[in-house]
């Protein structure tokens, strides 16, 4: 009865396992990200070139002098990784661990942006999603916690999926409306080609007296009819603008979910802008299969735990049949 309310994004079958699996997906993504990111190299940049962004301004300068050294940044990286791994494995299944991980990630991402010129958006949606999942009972499954899930309403596990879905669509819509409000010049001019070329120059396209032709990008620059390129830019923006319709309409959701990976792969190829985190977050639009997969995984984990438990309860020494009272069954 209550779960009928969750029809919005077809998350009526969300369970503790679903939220647990979402936690694992998010924290796995962060783990890969942190492992691949040599944050300590920023220790080579002078501290005078750092300007703490937003909430990080509350930290005093003395702390930044310690944190922004090569060793300090290594500690931040390891600390963040520890929190994220604890959250991923569910070894310390407490909300404070997940919230601590989200806090550490805010610091980590803030350090990157403190050394950057503009505040870019990559990873921020994933950061928000992590914060939202951390605020909900994400350790009720796939963790060392004793089963408490039955004490909670099933709907509580659907809420993070819906909130992340809303957030996902709203951010795309924000980008769409800002682009449209900037006027037609953005779409009628050679902006897209210029962005592709600018990226290519920055990637070393010009080297001394040579200009290395931008391989795949040549198609966008020359082969594709420019009207098609411009029309695609407009169509992509309109689709972004109306992204929130995906929250209400199943058909539009299919269209949007198909559009996002294509859009981001093209952006990665043409502009070098990789938003793989957003492709990961599409799981919140997965409707039923994600929850089914989570339930199957939870059953598999339970079975493995039972096996492990049985294996560790079995004495090493074989039980002599004579030592077992008559009428009692011995499970081996």
């Amino acid at each position: 009865m209550a779960n009928r309310n969750v029809d919005a994004l077809a998350h009526r079958s969300a369970t503790s396992s679903s939220l647990g699996l979402l936690r694992i997906v998010l924290f796995s993504t962060w783990t890969a990200y942190i492992l691949a990111d040599p944050l300590h190299l920023l220790g080579y940049l002078p501290i005078d070139t750092f300007s703490a962004p937003g909430v990080l301004r509350v930290l005093p300068d003395s702390i930044w002098h310690v944190v922004l050294s090569e060793m300090g940044l290594m500690v931040v990286r390891l600390l963040t990784l520890s929190f994220v791994l604890l959250g991923l494995c569910g070894l310390l299944p407490h909300r404070s661990v997940a919230i601590g991980a989200a806090g550490a990630l805010v610091l980590y991402q803030g350090i990157l942006r403190g050394f950057a010129g503009h505040i870019n958006h990559a990873e921020l949606l994933l950061l928000y999603a992590t914060g939202i999942v951390a605020a909900f009972p994400c350790f009720d499954a796939f963790s060392m916690r004793k089963a408490t899930a039955s004490l909670r309403s099933q709907n509580i596990y659907a809420v993070p999926f819906v909130v992340i879905g809303v957030l996902f669509c709203i951010t795309y819509s924000f980008v769409g409306i800002v682009r449209l409000m900037k006027g037609p010049d953005l779409f009628l001019s050679e902006t897209f080609r210029n962005l592709v070329l600018s990226h290519w120059i920055g990637m070393g396209g010009i080297s001394g007296e040579h200009f290395v032709a931008p391989s795949v990008r040549v198609w966008i620059l020359d082969a594709a009819p420019q009207l098609l390129v411009k029309a695609s830019y407009v169509a992509g923006t309109v689709l972004e603008l109306f992204a929130p319709v995906a929250l209400f309409s199943t058909r539009f959701r299919y269209l949007f979910v198909s559009f996002v990976p294509v859009f981001h792969v093209l952006s990665a190829v043409a502009l070098g802008v990789v938003f793989f985190e957003n492709i990961v977050l599409l799981v919140v639009f997965s409707q039923v299969w994600f929850h089914q997969a989570a339930s199957r995984a939870a059953r598999a984990v339970t079975a493995m735990r039972s096996l492990w438990f049985v294996a560790h309860q079995t004495p090493n020494r074989p039980i002599h049949p004579a030592s077992v009272p008559i009428g009692r069954r011995v499970d081996r």
């Binding site: 002078p46 962004p53 505040i119 709907n155 980008v175 962005l195 070329l197 120059i201 990637m203 929130p244």
Partner: protein
């Protein structure tokens, strides 16, 4: 309280937040007409979401502290969108990627000279992988603008520090052929004939000795 939780109450509350942000932006001289239309679009979204019955029913079952947290999160999201570029309101930012028209293909790159006079191009994304190309590139551009704007700081500029740091990191990886100067060079390429190297123009914006 019940009136505030109604769709109209939620929209009124969101309108207060958005208008507050737009007024602050106007005071800072960053106001433009498009911002009002952005605000209206945003309020229309808030109206649709807050009136959607399945969402309302779902959120009514969320415990009050969490519900307040989600409201706070929504307010922060609006403030981030309508209050500048995100430097002051991080982790909430203005979602506005690739929203400015570019009439020229241009980029700044770092060009260095080794001790034997060989030119070398320093790739931002290879020197500082966490910053990628765009973040470090924009840092260099901002530092250049600030240097040009404030001529009194030319003895020890942020730009000098950044170029030297990039050079030192390069020299650490290439001790046999260290670089002695690093220059920030801007390239402009004509869009229609981008392949014609003769039409490319370059300008050294800043040069620093190691």
């Amino acid at each position: 309280m019940a009136a505030l939780a109604s769709p109209n109450g939620i929209v009124a509350f969101a309108a207060l937040v958005v208008c507050g942000c737009i007024i602050l932006m106007a005071r800072a001289g960053w106001w433009r007409p498009g911002l009002m239309l952005e605000g209206l679009w945003c309020l229309a979204l808030v109206r649709c979401l807050s009136a959607y019955q399945p969402f309302r029913a779902l959120f009514s079952q969320v415990p009050m502290p969490l519900r307040l947290g989600l409201v706070g999160f929504g307010v922060a999201l609006l403030v981030g969108q309508f209050l500048g570029g995100g430097r002051h309101v991080y982790p909430f930012v203005r979602w506005a990627m690739y929203t400015d028209a570019e009439h020229q293909a241009r980029a700044v790159i770092l060009e260095a000279t080794t001790v034997v006079g060989k030119p070398v191009q320093l790739r931002h994304d290879e020197l500082f992988p966490p910053l990628r190309r765009g973040r470090f590139g924009s840092k260099l551009r901002y530092a250049y603008k600030s240097t040009v704007r404030d001529a009194s700081r030319r003895d020890s500029t942020e730009l000098d520090l950044l170029l030297r740091a990039a050079g030192q990191l390069y020299n650490r990886a290439h001790p046999s052929a260290p670089i002695v100067t690093v220059a920030l060079v801007e390239y402009v390429v004509p869009t229609a004939r981008y392949w014609d190297r003769a039409l490319h123009t370059s300008r050294v914006l800043w040069r620093t000795a190691m």
